[in-house]
Symmetry: C2
Subunit: 188 residues, 2 copies
Amino acid sequence: MGRWQPNARGRLEQAALDLYVERGFAQTTVTEIAGRAGLTERTFFRHFADKREVLFSGSAELQELLVAAVNGAPEGAAPIDAVAAGLDAIGDLMQERRPYARRRQSVITANTELRERELIKLATLSAATAEALHRRGVAEPAASLAAEAGIAVFRIAFGRWVGGPDDKELAQLMRESLAELKAVAAGA
Amino acid sequence: MGRWQPNARGRLEQAALDLYVERGFAQTTVTEIAGRAGLTERTFFRHFADKREVLFSGSAELQELLVAAVNGAPEGAAPIDAVAAGLDAIGDLMQERRPYARRRQSVITANTELRERELIKLATLSAATAEALHRRGVAEPAASLAAEAGIAVFRIAFGRWVGGPDDKELAQLMRESLAELKAVAAGA
DNA sequence: ACGGTTGATGGCAGGAGCTGACATCGTCCC
DNA sequence: GGGACGATGTCAGCTCCTGCCATCAACCGT
């Protein structure tokens, strides 16, 4: 067997989430997280850029899924429909991880610094979506606006999903929210 | 005359922006900012919660203006039109301060931490707008979606205004972007 | 006029986040 | 068998930020 226990990164993520839930983000030190994972503070910072980033390792995967779904939309589909396809894809993924998502989100919502980080991750998703639309031939500012609108729909629907009853599916909530956005934009 | 020079807060803001422009946000220490303003680091942190906040003192004023304009929209106006009225109001205000806005934005765009802070300020604007709509009788999630859509329009238009030629007015860019968003939402 | 209160500031100690430089030591490859 | 490699540890140090107490002019009530 190896010199080190496997999956140091995953152990750090697990320890961090547990501690953030137990005593709060601000009341947890990086040294404590590393200690629980059997590592040192210095090693934590080799795996994660800072104390917040440890909660956001999944956003890269989410982005790939979203972009792939936008790319995979029918060639003639309207931009907003390509975005909707992306939302469906990430909705299905997150639905499978609902307990984890709730736990994680309770930590993020409770701390302003973490909400800041979450917002910039969403902004990154939006930018990636806009770029994907652009490659589909959608001009600016339509591409960016469609992407921003899609992320807004995600944000609203996700909030309702996390805080709402278990039988509401995220993808369904997103479809409803998108329909609502369309109505609002039309001047309803 | 008083024991202290007047407008300590304003001097700190001026010194901070100047230094952030000159050598960058990360390369500037709070001690340097305070020193240039004739104060100490400790006093800086009495006026601003952290090193980033010194660039965002205007957001409260912006929010008041936005909410007031939403409140002042005709009673029968559709949510999206009430939001548009708010965008017009802040557009006019910012138009008067374009040189300052460019300078400030160049600093923010160059630093991730500052972009995070900017995003949460915009999210706060969105939440305040949603609440104003709610008081007008707009139900959820329509209120939040209209607010998010409005802030998305602001975001896109602002980016084009800051980076574009001088003769393009922000309010005009926002009207164009809003029209584009409506087209996109309709499936164009 | 005098004394107490208030309010903005300074000084200092200290914790926590984060980084650079160097050491350690299994593993892998030739 | 030896050297390169890679993940981790150790340590020093800077900066951000906070708590606590001191200072001192302005103001206020008597």
